[in-house]
């Protein structure tokens, strides 16, 4: 019993349980939606979602990793803000501004040699993402504007600005997309092209995955170290717990708040760079009046990982995995938006997963306590005799 209690008291355990619980309910809800809309094919459709990226073998898994890369970064962005007491719903804006910067540098700054070109492009994306978060950070710290409202406004401004900038400077009007970046700005494959491909006759059908996934994982580890092993990270987290208490302890709370927001924005901006510097068969920026979905999906990624940077890697891969499954759903005439519905359900349930966690924890604790009390009573009774 003691052992069970010690396992349950471990935060990470009960948190993982509550995340898995949210995922299961979300998937169940998705299945019900499939069942209602087309009962005969619902089971097949659901299996396609579960099979996710595996439906197209090695290349499919590569694609899962490719689309997981920006999600890891936006997930880290939202999660980092959560840890420091902020809700950064502005990842879509920071993401798209970073993406534009990376592609702009990738197309225009061809004077840079091979490795430096993509490195500078990524740095540019990171910096612009940070700047995009600097504005709401300052507004929050010094003018008391709630960061949720401010970052939402910055999302729309960023979306329209990026559309305008893409159309003005790097537009491929034939395809209505941004131009291809120069070869020197494409992220290297780092050997991944030798694993993730399908053979089509004599040619290799390569996956788009590249060294971006490694960069994302390294960044996740760095963020983990900053948050958990450094004084700097501790101060940022302290401000998140209680601004007044940290002020009293001599921490510059306003500067820390702005710093947290900027770091969060930098992560989202880098995510935009990593997704779009991917060469011929990779993504290019679409000029549409829709907020970047990779940014919004950072929220479920962070929530499922409970803002843990290492957990973010896995939850990003999971979200990317079922999103890929959603694309294959179209072969059965289902609409891929069912995946967004599932993700929304997962967020909804993870919003009160802490409630379940506390409930289960309290229930078991009470049981254990009452047993121990009985034991104690018996001992005391014995002592009196």
């Amino acid at each position: 019993m003691k052992q069970l209690q010690s396992i349950l008291e471990k935060d990470s355990f009960s948190r993982t349980i509550s995340s898995i619980f949210s995922i299961l309910i979300g998937l169940l809800f998705g299945f019900i939606i499939l069942l209602v809309s087309n009962p005969t094919q619902a089971v097949d459709g659901f299996l396609i979602i579960l099979k996710g990226g595996f439906s197209t073998h090695a290349k499919g898994i590569g694609q899962v990793l490719y689309f997981a890369t920006p999600l890891i970064l936006t997930g880290l962005s939202v999660g980092f803000a959560f840890k420091t007491g902020l809700f950064n719903i502005g990842a879509p804006g920071q993401f798209i501004m970073g993406a534009f910067t990376a592609v702009y540098i990738g197309v225009k700054w061809t004077f840079l040699p091979a490795p430096w070109h993509w490195i500078v492009a990524l740095l540019g994306a990171t910096i612009v993402g940070g700047l995009w978060a600097l504005i709401p950070g300052i507004l929050k710290a010094y003018l008391n504007v709630h960061e949720v409202i401010a970052t939402i406004m910055m999302n729309y401004i960023g979306m329209y600005l990026a559309n305008f900038l893409v159309k003005s400077y790097i537009y491929d009007s034939k395809k209505a997309l941004s131009m291809n970046v120069a070869d020197t700005a494409v992220l290297p494959k780092a050997g991944l092209d030798k694993i993730f491909y399908n053979t089509m006759g004599t040619t290799k059908d390569l996956s788009t995955v590249n060294c971006g996934i490694f960069i994302a994982i390294i960044i996740a580890i760095i963020i983990y170290i900053i948050l958990n092993k450094t004084t700097f990270g501790y101060e940022l987290k302290a401000c998140g717990f209680s601004q007044d208490a940290s002020k009293y302890a001599g921490i510059n709370d306003k500067r820390n708040l702005v710093t947290s927001m900027v770091i969060s924005g930098m992560l989202a901006g880098l995510g935009g760079g990593l997704l779009y510097l991917s060469g011929g068969n990779g993504r290019r920026i679409k000029v549409v009046d829709v907020l970047a979905i990779e940014g919004f999906n950072g929220i479920p990624v962070a929530l499922l990982a409970l803002s843990n940077p290492i957990g973010t890697i896995f939850s990003a891969i999971f979200i990317s995995y079922i999103t890929q499954g959603g694309h294959y759903l179209q072969t059965l005439n289902f609409v891929p938006e069912v995946i967004d519905i599932i993700i929304a359900c997962i967020i909804y349930f993870s919003a009160f997963s802490l409630f379940f966690k506390d409930y289960i924890f309290r229930f078991i604790k009470n049981r254990v306590q009452s047993m121990e009390e009985k034991k104690q009573e018996r001992l005391e009774d014995g002592g009196e005799e």
Partner: protein
């Protein structure tokens, strides 16, 4: 005169949905629950009611059809808001996260259902606009004022203004309004004098859902000929309008007019001679309402009069 009356008419079309939704936000926040899912509730309200119009427009038209559609939008918004109420009141979850989930759910749901049930498999739901009132009888004949306010109008404009009057009365002159405000300021004190905080908060969230659903419909009807699973950030703008209006209905009305004007400039710049000649691209104009919001918030948030207990789940046991 032509341009001026056009601007006034357009401003009303943009302001009234903002006003209605922002008033909804006032009710929920005054009760102590923050609701960033207004955007999603607008989408759900617009979705069901416009689908209704789409299906019924062969059989009926004009104001009766619009009024029934408005009822449907209100019911949809109310039902959808129950999800937010349950999560944030009963389960004491993070209200922003619950709202985010509903905001993601609504457009995905609208697209999914539209593509599944429409024969052509597209996500847009088209409708024919038979609701414009060319000129209100009698009132439309008044010189100047008639041109500005009673021509090319929609019945929704007057209903929106009616809701404003009703909101002022309910919030300031009724027992319900006083109790609602008490729950947003100091729920424990309210509870101690026998007010059911949970019930009051439910009422606040449901009113916001009803008004947001309605707002979704009256945003889409005059400005478009189809519904494409979006209300272009209006739910979020409504939240900003509420903050700018300092949680007070009359001030919210003026804030909504201001944003409506901004939005009008953003969408009708091509008919305003001075702006049309300046050759500024349309994307820049589209940014204007959002930039204006940020600037206005920067100046009006410092001395915020937000309800004290907003976004804090009410727990009877805590002190």
């Amino acid at each position: 005169m032509g341009v001026l009356s056009l601007i006034v008419q357009q401003t009303m079309l943009f302001s009234i949905p903002l006003l209605v939704v922002a008033l909804g936000a006032v009710f929920t926040e005054r009760g102590g629950v923050t609701n960033i899912a207004l955007e999603g509730m607008m989408i759900m309200g617009a979705f069901t009611s416009i689908f209704f119009i789409n299906q019924m427009q062969d059989k009926m038209s004009g104001q009766l059809l619009l009024l029934i559609a408005m009822l449907i939008a209100i019911v949809t918004g109310t039902v959808f808001s129950l999800f937010h109420a349950y999560a944030s009141i009963n389960l004491k979850s993070d209200q922003v996260i619950s709202g985010t989930a509903l905001n993601m759910f609504a457009p995905a749901f609208a697209i999914y259902v539209a593509r599944m049930i429409q024969d052509n498999g597209v996500q847009q739901i088209g409708f024919t606009n038979t609701f414009r009132i060319k000129s209100v009888p009698v009132l439309g004949d008044i010189p100047i004022i008639g041109d500005l306010f009673f021509k090319n109008a929609y019945i929704t404009t007057y209903i929106g203004l009616g809701i404003l009057v009703l909101s002022v009365i309910i919030i300031y002159k009724t027992r319900f309004g006083l109790r609602l405000r008490a729950c947003g300021e100091h729920p424990h004190a309210a509870d101690s004098v026998g007010i059911n905080v949970y019930k009051m908060r439910y009422a606040g969230v449901m009113i916001s859902g009803a008004l947001a659903g309605l707002g979704g419909l009256i945003f889409v009807v005059p400005t478009s000929t189809n519904f494409n699973a979006t209300v272009s950030g209006y739910g979020f703008l409504a939240l900003a309008v509420m903050i700018f209006g300092q949680w007070k209905p009359i001030r919210v009305f003026f804030a909504a007019l201001f944003f409506g004007l901004m939005k009008t400039i953003a969408s009708a710049y091509s008919v305003i001679p001075l702006l049309a000649a300046s050759n500024i691209p349309s994307d820049v104009y589209k940014m204007i309402p959002f930039i204006a919001t940020l600037i206005v918030l920067a100046f009006s948030s410092k001395s915020s009069e937000a309800p004290k207990a907003v976004a804090v789940p009410y727990d009877k046991g805590s002190r």
